[in-house]
Symmetry: C2
Subunit: 231 residues, 2 copies
DNA sequence: CGGGATGTTGAGAATCTTCAAGTCACGTGG
DNA sequence: CCACGTGACTTGAAGATTCTCAACATCCCG
């Protein structure tokens, strides 16, 4: 493995503004690895030995119920920490993390956590900030699932995805990684059939363009109206 | 206000095993207050100036959507921290906290947080442990809402309530605070009508006994079977 | 070029909500 | 102490949303 470059993490909240010496110290505790699309970074129930920072790519975090239903907990974007089981006082990972595209990941052993928190001001804060943000996200999702119909939930989810991981293309904004109807269903608590029907209707109405493992939003404002149930 | 007694918090995780001097120090930063049933401890959107520990009673945490729907995020039990906005890096409270019964609450100003974390080993950990546990709870709830039918969700919710806040009575276990059908509906993402119908059916089947603002589980094992969809 | 994964669409069924109408319990004030 | 009013609860009937089942179309990868 090549020596890790400071520029990898210089821009990341929690490491921003560190001295070169501190950056080197942070990197000396970590190691970088590549995961091919569909590779598992960690598995639900597995003993949590490390935590991670996504340097590039997109990671899907999936929980499986005892009955075998899958629910996508979230997508991780570049620059985000994940697999923070140790910071929650957990000894195992509560979900699978799967590379949605080819990914580069920094890994720290749990044993580095105390060290980092002690020596890097702001690192612990960044980790807990991340957890706090996820608690709020998850709570919003509970509210959506509790109070909104399927079409609104899908609209909110698609808008969130393009906002967080959108890439500008000729006629709109495209979600930056391959995503199936089934994936969207697992994020919104519905079935791929309903997702397909609704996306087809939206395409008919000129709000989105679909495609295999692809969603392009062509009329974000129109979608927003649907999300707010004011079509 | 009378001087706060060390015994108030001596048993609480995060304060357990502290010296008398440390306990006094923790209490000197706090003040205790009483809230009558239905009193608001803090309100959604209000600037978060303090965080709290519930000494006795039960607190309902409620979020309201822009459209006016209410969702009960959780109930707080005796000995739990709540209103931890500052630990999430938030400047306002994300929900209402309402006394479900008469309550006694310890309050610390946010300014005490850094102090407590520095001087009391384990305090910061306890706060973040609490947040971590809530993230996991909330995620389980997303899974339930996504994959289970209403009857199972209500069964899980009622079982969780009796487990966390149950009081043994003659013919079963009763939820230890007044709870309406509407409350249960707001915890499970359904309507009070559906909750009422299902509780009536369970009563018919001898699993529970109902009553005004009351639920007594008489056959926890039978309810568990319903929760797992194996009636 | 075959086959598995992905996506579409129709029809029927099931669950759950909505609307409606009431009953019941409890606390308050006369 | 009783009448009354309000909040809590119940139950029926109709309707809507969404799921399930089924069949087929399509696309990509090897």
């Amino acid at each position: 493995m090549p020596a890790l470059d400071r520029s990898l993490i210089g821009e990341i909240p929690g490491f921003a503004g560190l001295s070169e010496a501190d950056l080197d110290r942070v990197l000396s505790l970590a190691h970088a690895s590549r995961f091919e699309k569909d590779a598992t970074i960690f598995a639900q129930g597995e003993e949590a030995h490390s935590f991670f920072l996504l340097l590039s790519g997109h990671v899907r975090v999936v929980k499986t119920t005892p009955e075998g239903h899958q629910v996508i907990a979230r997508y991780i974007n570049e620059g985000e920490l994940f697999g923070l089981a140790i910071f929650l006082g957990r000894s195992d990972y509560p979900a699978d993390a799967v590379a949605a595209v080819d990914c580069v990941v920094l890994t720290w052993p749990n044993s580095a956590a105390a060290e980092l928190q002690k020596t890097i001001p702001g690192f612990g804060g960044a980790a807990y900030q991340t957890i706090g943000a996820r608690l709020q996200d998850t709570q919003s999702r509970v509210m959506e699932l509790s109070t909104q119909q399927v079409e609104q939930r899908i609209a909110h989810t698609v808008l969130r995805l393009v906002r967080q991981s959108g890439r500008k293309v000729a006629d709109g904004i495209e979600i930056d990684f391959p995503i199936t109807r089934q994936d969207i269903a697992e994020m919104t608590g519905t079935t791929l059939h309903t997702v397909s029907r609704i996306l087809s209707a939206w395409e008919e109405a000129g709000l989105v363009r679909g495609g295999r493992q692809k969603v392009i939003v062509t009329d974000p404002h129109g979608l927003m109206l649907i999300a707010e149930h004011r079509r």
